[in-house]
Symmetry: C2
Subunit: 331 residues, 2 copies
C-alpha cells in the first residue's frame, strides 16, 4: 500500500475513443490532511457520459488532458482525519480513476453496508435512480401501455424495463445482438427484444409493439429514436436520457427526421432530464428500489471487469455494446 | 347566384406546391335538403396545414384527387331548412374551396356578429387559439423570460408574440425579410426580429436573445429549430406547432442535430400539440382573446387577398413567406 495507480486522461479522443487516449501512472498513496479521509477504492463506475466529459463542458466542467480521468466509485475508508468517518466505512465519491484518494469529508457519501457495494453502484446508484426518475417522472407510464427502451441491456435499460413491468406495461427492449435479446426476455423479464443490428430492425419493432409505443425511454438517439418516433402513439412520451449513439464521435449526427413533424401530428412530448435534478427526492427512490430488490421484484444485473488496468478497455468496450447490466471495474 | 365556382384538388403536388395542382370548376349552386343550410361563403382560410392534407393522412383524413380542396371558411346563411339557423346568420365550417355550400346544421358553428368576420377567422379562430394554447399551455412562459417565435409574421406568430408580451416576456421573432422584421417591431410590438435569410442569422438570434431562450414557439422546424436549440436555456420549452419548412416538400428534411443531445444536457421539453385537443376550453380562450382585442391590448393583423380565383396563388405565396398576419381570401 505505497503505490497509487492512476489512469490519466492523456488527450481528447480524435473520433472514436481508444485506450491510447489514457495513460497509466504511479504516484505515492496520498496522506489525508486535517478534515480529509483516505479511501481505498474498490469499484469504479463506467458510464456513457464519461466520453462526453472528455470532449467539453456538459453538466460538469470539462476534463483537461493531464487530469486523473473522472469517475464515481465506491471504496472503504482506510484512515480518517474527519469525525464523521472511521476505518471500514463504505463510501461513494467522484474519486477519479485511481486506487486511493484522500478527499475532504464533505465530498464523501456514507453507504448502508447492508447492501452489496455493486448494488450501491448500480440499482441504488446513479443508473438505478436515472431509470426510476426518467421512467416515472418523465415517461409517466400507465398500466397496459407499451414501453420501448433502447440500450435495454445496459445499466439504465435493465432497471427501467423492470420498473415498467412493475407498472403493468408491455415492455420491449432494443439491444445489439440476438444473445442479448434472449437474455432480456429470459433473464430480465422483458416481453420482447429487438436486435438493432438486424436488417429488419424497423419491422421487428413494429411486430414487437403491435399496439404502437406509448413511452420510449431513449438511451441512444440516432436510428432507434427515428424508428420509435414513427411508431409512437398519439400523446406518446419520449424520455431523453442519453445519446450513446452520439457520445463516441466528434461529429454529432443529424437528428431524426420525425422531429418536429411527428411531434406535432402525434402530440408527442419529448423531454430531457438529468438525475441530479431530482436530488431532493433521492431518498424516496432509494427506499423504493431497495425494497423491490429485497423483495425479489427486481433484478440488478452487474457486469464486473476484474482489474484496475482494464479501465480504458472496459470503457471502449461499453461503446461496442458488450456489457449486460451495470458495468464496473473491480480495482 | 346560379353558379358555384369550386377549386378541385387535381393531383398530389410533386415536390413544391404549384397552382397547377388545382383546377377551377363550375357547378350549380346546391339546394339544401331537409336539415341543411345553404351558405354563401365570404372568406376562406389559407393554412400551412392545407399542404399536408394533400399529401396523406394527418390528424384529418387525406384528400383525394378530384375532391373539392378542403378549407375552413366564414359565410352568411342564404336559406335554411334547419330550425337553428336563419338567413343572415354568420357561420363557420369546413366548407372547402367553393363559393356556396349546403351543409347539415350540425357541421356549422354560429358566430357572434359583434366581431368582424376576419377576426373570427384569425385571432378568434383556429390560428388565434393555436397561439393561445400553444404558448400558455405548452410553453408556460414566466415574466422576464425570453420567448423566440419562428414564422413570427404569420397568423399564429403575430398573436403568440403579443400574448407573450402581455405575459411580461422579452419577445423575439424570426421572419423572412428585413421589411417584415421592421413591421414586427414597429407595428406588432416585438422586442426584436431576425431575418432568417440573412447569412448572419445564427449570430442575429444570439444578439437578440442575450439571456438565451426560455421558450421557443416553433412554426417552422428546420434550421431555425436547430439554431434555437443551440441557444435554449436549461429547462427550456419548445412548442412544436407546425413545420412550414417541411410542409412544401415530398421529402422531409433530417431533424435538427441538437436532438436529442441538447434535450438531455439542457433538460429541454419539446412538445407537439394540436389546437383541437383543447376544444373544451375554447370558450375561455375566445373570451380572453376577444377581451384583449376590444381593449386594444392585442392587434389582429389580417392579409386579405381579393378574389376566389386567387386561392391557389395565395396558398403557394404563403409558402414563399409573403403574408403578414392571418392570410385569407375574400370570395
Amino acid at each position: 500500500m505505497t503505490v497509487n495507480k492512476q489512469w490519466i486522461f492523456a488527450h481528447a479522443p480524435d473520433g472514436k475513443l481508444a485506450t491510447s487516449d489514457f495513460e497509466l501512472r504511479e504516484n505515492p498513496v496520498p496522506e489525508p490532511m486535517a478534515g480529509e479521509v483516505l479511501v481505498a477504492i474498490k469499484l469504479l463506475s463506467l458510464d456513457p457520459a464519461s466520453r462526453s466529459w472528455m470532449h467539453g463542458r456538459t453538466y460538469r466542467s470539462a476534463l483537461l488532458p493531464g487530469d486523473v480521468m473522472a469517475g464515481w466509485g465506491i471504496g472503504e475508508v482506510v484512515s480518517s482525519r474527519a469525525p464523521e468517518f472511521e476505518p471500514g466505512d463504505l463510501v461513494r465519491a467522484d474519486f477519479g480513476w485511481q486506487q486511493y484518494a484522500a478527499l475532504p469529508a464533505r465530498q464523501l457519501i456514507k453507504l448502508d453496508k447492508r447492501h452489496r457495494p455493486e448494488h450501491h453502484m448500480g440499482i441504488l446508484g446513479t443508473t438505478g435512480l436515472t431509470a426510476y426518475f426518467g421512467l416515472l417522472e418523465i415517461g409517466k407510464p400507465r398500466p397496459g401501455e407499451t414501453v420501448l427502451i433502447s440500450a435495454a441491456a445496459g445499466a439504465v435499460g435493465t432497471i427501467a424495463g423492470q420498473i415498467a413491468k412493475l407498472m403493468g406495461c408491455r415492455v420491449v427492449g432494443t439491444t445489439s445482438s440476438p444473445e442479448k435479446c434472449k437474455w432480456l426476455v429470459n433473464e430480465i423479464g422483458f416481453d420482447a427484444a429487438v436486435d438493432y443490428n438486424d436488417s429488419e430492425f424497423s419491422r421487428g419493432v413494429k411486430q414487437a409493439c403491435p399496439d404502437g409505443i406509448d413511452v420510449y425511454f431513449d438511451n441512444t438517439g440516432g436510428d432507434v429514436l427515428s424508428v420509435a418516433l414513427s411508431r409512437m402513439n398519439i400523446y406518446g412520451r419520449v424520455i431523453c436520457c442519453g445519446v450513446v449513439s452520439n457520445f463516441d464521435t466528434a461529429t454529432p449526427l443529424a437528428g431524426p427526421a420525425g422531429v418536429p413533424g411527428f411531434l406535432v401530428t402525434k402530440r408527442i412530448r419529448m423531454e430531457g432530464f438529468i438525475v441530479h435534478d431530482y436530488a431532493t427526492r433521492r431518498p424516496v427512490a432509494e427506499a423504493t428500489l431497495a425494497r423491490w430488490l429485497e423483495e425479489g421484484k427486481i433484478k440488478a444485473p452487474v457486469d464486473i471487469v476484474e482489474g484496475f488496468e482494464k479501465m480504458p478497455a472496459a470503457l471502449t468496450g461499453m461503446f461496442g455494446g458488450q456489457n449486460r447490466g451495470k458495468l464496473m471495474v473491480r480495482v
